[in-house]
Symmetry: C4
Subunit: 359 residues, 4 copies
């Protein structure tokens, strides 16, 4: 058991260092570049009046940005979570923690997650894997443990079939996911009435997914589409067998590009939508908001910054907010509500995608 | 006559070695890359429940994959056929033999084909050239000889006008092909009621072709479209005269891309359709099934593997099946029937093709 | 104050030299290349009959070309303005001066603008910044001072939100621009009834802008779209902080391409439209006229020529006129009115743009 | 006068050698690559039954190919014309001579054109410039002289505004071209009732042109569109002044691509249409015929061959015919009439062109 725990810790560290040092991003893009916000030459607003504030899950955010759930379960993870928590506290933003499974199994690891509450009272989102509700027979008590561990304001349930299927150790049973319907409903009734978020990990959700997630009763969808971190690429580095490397290459471009996923989900779902997967600056965020997202989420650039210290996380997020504000200025949007109404055009592949799937 | 036989053997060997060592594939693609299967983020199935089994021509296949007809008629061919037969027996797949003309003419060569029956009871498909029914005045007796030679479960009749026209020795009379109507019908009545497959060799069939083939009475169409092995490219290596090389270059991109050919055929034909020509992995197979094929066929990669040994053929086909299963998992299809209904989008040139030809 | 003036002068010189020596142009294009004028093989006209003459703001121009407002306010600027004035006088064209703010504040600098009237009686256009009417509370008296300074035939009011927002010293309040409605109307009533032009500086106007500008009462719109000089690129050279450089890179491609901006504006506005931003020859001019512009304007190439002497400015403009005439010959247009009716096709991204925004 | 004649001869030789040794072809293509003939996998014909024979202007051609008018007027031209004449006689094809103006002015040069009749009785087409009917006040007597000189079976009148406008010595008056109406009609009545062909020289005709040419009474249109020899490129080599080189570069891509020009002309004109400009093989010819041409014409490759000898011209044309026959075989067309009905798809830029201009 100790050995096994050691192994998992080593794998998690390997993932973190791979993401930090190697190119782990999709060759195919988010398709956000196929969206062009329309410059408003007359502008018509005062830059100093621009308000980026918004609300998410009942908590205030100084800008529509949260840090995606990344890690937990080992000492390096504790440091990363601490750095992110300090930064979002400083800036008035929100964050998620990584999969809490490690601490569900082993109480000794709880502090690697709960550390965030030593540093922030802002929005904090818990994280559990959908697959474990099936394969490990989890129920509302597990949810309760995860929520209490970090006093979570919301719970993200991640769906990661690609990630599981390409790892030798992967859990591969995603059947009977509607079990989640009862678990969520029971949890809300018997424990706390907090919102639940369905979250991908880089391959996005389709409109068919959105209908299923709506039916299960998810309050929000965090699309986490393709174009940012690719788990197939991460794994390619770790695999030694050439044949398996080759197989992973085939799926290194698999997934619904972030912009397409946002349109897919918005076409059938009217809950909260978070734009994520490959968000790399305030212009990306402005585009996501313009096409209907309530907020954006970022992982990889924040992970990299967090390894340098919490001030670096602050700097990166400040850049994003500054860039977002400039974009808002140039389309003449004084606040997030106005940004949601700004005109844009859709080009190339994204246009094709929308025409074929959503019309 | 002996000399002539030697010559043909040498040419066949030259083809095989050229295909093994040189780039003999189209620069233009199958257009399968213009199809994007839609990731199902919620997945909803258990990987271990996935069934790739299917039936083709009354025989079970463990996955919708057969090996295309490649060779026969000389000792190296015998070894290749043996290796393929052992592999498909091991995996529960099917195979075709190469053109049986050599053994129709010369009984001494029969064992280079019939060897497959020493190693497999699975689906085996015979192979004769449409053009020979015209130029050599073949009839149902020839069909009978070919079927009996390998105890064929089905007969493929290949149509190869490009191949013939670019070879100095080519047979160039494809007139009065409807003669095949009577021959097939007579054969079925007087001999065995097995299915007949119309097969291209890398240039694909159009919808106009499909109507003709339907009228002749073919039970299946094996599209063998452009994007994989190009016979014009094979011949370019063999030709010495610069002017003829130049002429062949003009036709090195001739043909209907595999994905387009599948849509062409499906638009007017409701028999069995095999997706083939440039199939290079399980993701290609998943796409073919999603757009309506019943099965896929592969030649070049299997030929290469068979030159290394039967275990190598097994390995390549296992990779294909594994890749197919992952694709099925990621679109949430538990079996081939569900895969046939999975949503997809069509982009770029393939979209143009469909719009202009099939709407 | 002297120091501050010195600083501004140094910055203006730095801009000029940067524009002269470095690549300051958009990577993204004007989209004029997506317009193809249709060759008239029968031609049907006499080259020597071709008339490029046109009228703009009541003044004759020998061709539909003016020099955009570029500079003023320091000794080098005086020389540049003089050289441009001599050249447009020689050729019968018009010109604008750069922002007159410097001389509004400081009378000593007036001659760096008024010098143009020592050399030309042709069309001269004044230049003031829209933002200053807000932040500096300017009114019709300021307009009067600017007009009188150069005996302006028309006044351009430039809108430059991007430029302001990326400069540390930028004015960032574009709110209540409808104040301009009264100022313009008052000025026309109480002072001179000259036309007012709304002018961008390289990011273009949208159709939404055009409606606002129409409502304010602008007689003309000078689109100055993207594809030529990029102020974000100019500033990237000047900035030292890597993070800010990175931020500016994000906006180095921001803006409405010139051809798109022309279509946007023409779709809702029937005043005079000037095609500008990245105009680099007579073929560009012919295309702008064909899609509905009354005239074109050029900055960067003229700035570069003016640093070599007035004869060089003449040479560059003569080339443009010659190229325009050849284009007119090849589409069989004897004069500007006929050129406006010449057929063309629209391709690629520009076609997409029009389809989505203007249909 | 002698000097002047010498000068013209030198220029003509310079053109010929430039075309032989340098890259004088358009960067932009004929757009014939946007046409894809549909492979007929079942073929259905006998290669040896394929007939490429056709009739043009009352004369038989063994294939729908003629050599475009290229040269005349000096001793090298005589040799070129002789070599082409011998080759077309050998193969049963037709040819044009280059502009006969030189011999209209100077009887000594007649034999450099009339030499063709010493070697062929096949279709020979005369060549005069449309512009000279205006600037030199030519009439039906000039036509008569040109026809008699070579016993022409048809007369081509070339329209070359681009060529004229970029040459220092160019004739630039294409006004009152309807004068040609009377001249042609008078000539036909008073002299010989032979067909008249309107011919471009590499920039193509539009549908507007076709209507004008129809009205003038032309019996045929030889499109000579863009994608082959570019006169702007030829002239760029000859010019020394950098500014003029630069100007010519702007027009090096000017013109209607051959495939687009064919569709333009066919949309309004039902006379004979010749596909030409950048025809570089039998596959190009097959495409032209499929989209509605009666015949094709080729210049540059034949010019190059003719400089090596008449046998080389034969070889090049034989290659074209062979390639055409293979294409006919692969679409299952037994003769030119069937080829005219073969299905095809139109892609990319050509599709855009047709959609915008001809729908
Ligand atoms: C090192 C690393 C670890 C991650 N661990 C988790 C996790 O435990 N739970 C989860 O839901 N997502 C996890 N993710 C996925 C991210 O939340 C996010 O969906 C993905 O990285 C795409 O966003 P990006 O392109 O901004 O990186 C992880 C990502 C990284 C880079
Ligand atoms: C060496 C070689 C020999 C072939 N011989 C035959 C044959 O005898 N009969 C036939 O129908 N197809 C023959 N084919 C064509 C294949 O069956 C198949 O149609 C073609 O190779 C395209 O598939 P691929 O891209 O997977 O190679 C041959 C292919 C190869 C590479
Ligand atoms: C050095 C320089 C200074 C400029 N100054 C002004 C100015 O003071 N006022 C203004 O309205 N535009 C100014 N512009 C913008 C130009 O008028 C024009 O809008 C822009 O350069 C795009 O045109 P181009 O691509 O032809 O250069 C300036 C441009 C340059 C290159
Ligand atoms: C050297 C040369 C001379 C030519 N001279 C004439 C001419 O005198 N009259 C004419 O109508 N076209 C002339 N042409 C144009 C050709 O007839 C043809 O329109 C053009 O070259 C495009 O065809 P291509 O791409 O096959 O070369 C000439 C072309 C070349 C290359």
């Amino acid at each position: 058991m100790v050995d096994n725990r050691n192994e998992i810790e080593v794998r998690k560290l390997e993932h973190i260092f791979l993401c930090n040092y190697c190119d782990v991003e999709y060759k195919k893009t988010t398709l956000l570049e196929d969206i062009e916000l329309i410059h408003k030459g007359t502008c018509g607003i005062n830059f100093y009046d621009i308000e980026t504030e918004t609300k998410l899950f009942g908590k205030k955010l100084s800008a529509p940005i949260i840090v995606s759930g990344i890690t937990g379960g080992h000492s390096k993870a504790k440091e990363i979570n601490k750095n992110i928590a300090k930064a979002v506290e400083e800036l008035g933003l929100g964050m998620g923690v990584g999969s809490q499974r490690a601490a569900i199994i082993n109480d000794d690891l709880i502090d690697t997650y709960s550390v965030v509450r030593d540093y922030t009272n802002n929005l904090v989102i818990g994280n559990l894997g959908a697959v474990n509700f099936i394969v490990d027979n989890w129920d509302e008590e597990v949810v309760d443990k995860a929520v209490e561990m970090i006093d979570a304001d919301a719970m993200a349930i991640h769906f990661n079939p690609l990630q599981e299927v390409i790892q030798p150790e992967g859990d591969l049973n995603f059947k009977n996911l509607d079990k989640l319907k009862e678990i969520i409903s029971n949890y809300k009734k018997s424990y706390k009435n907090i919102p639940f978020i369905a979250k991908q990990v880089g391959e996005g959700f389709s409109k068919e997914d959105a209908l299923i997630l709506k039916d299960i009763g998810f309050d929000a969808i965090d699309v986490q589409g393709s174009g940012g971190t690719s788990w197939a690429k991460v794994e390619i580095y770790r695999v030694k067998d050439e044949k398996i490397k080759n197989l992973l290459e085939k799926f290194a471009n698999w997934g619904i590009p972030t912009a397409a996923s946002i349109f897919e989900v918005k076409s059938v779902y009217d809950g909260i939508v978070i734009g994520s997967g490959g968000i790399r600056g305030g212009l990306d965020i402005a585009k996501c908001i313009a096409i209907g997202c309530d907020c954006c989420a970022v992982a990889l650039p924040i992970l990299k910054a967090s390894l340098k210290g919490w001030e670096e996380v602050v700097k990166v997020l400040e850049e994003y907010i500054k860039e977002l504000k400039i974009a808002m200025f140039l389309v003449g949007a004084e606040n997030i509500e106005e940004l949601k109404k700004t005109p844009y055009i859709v080009k190339g592949t994204l246009k094709d995608w929308i025409n074929q799937r959503l019309k």
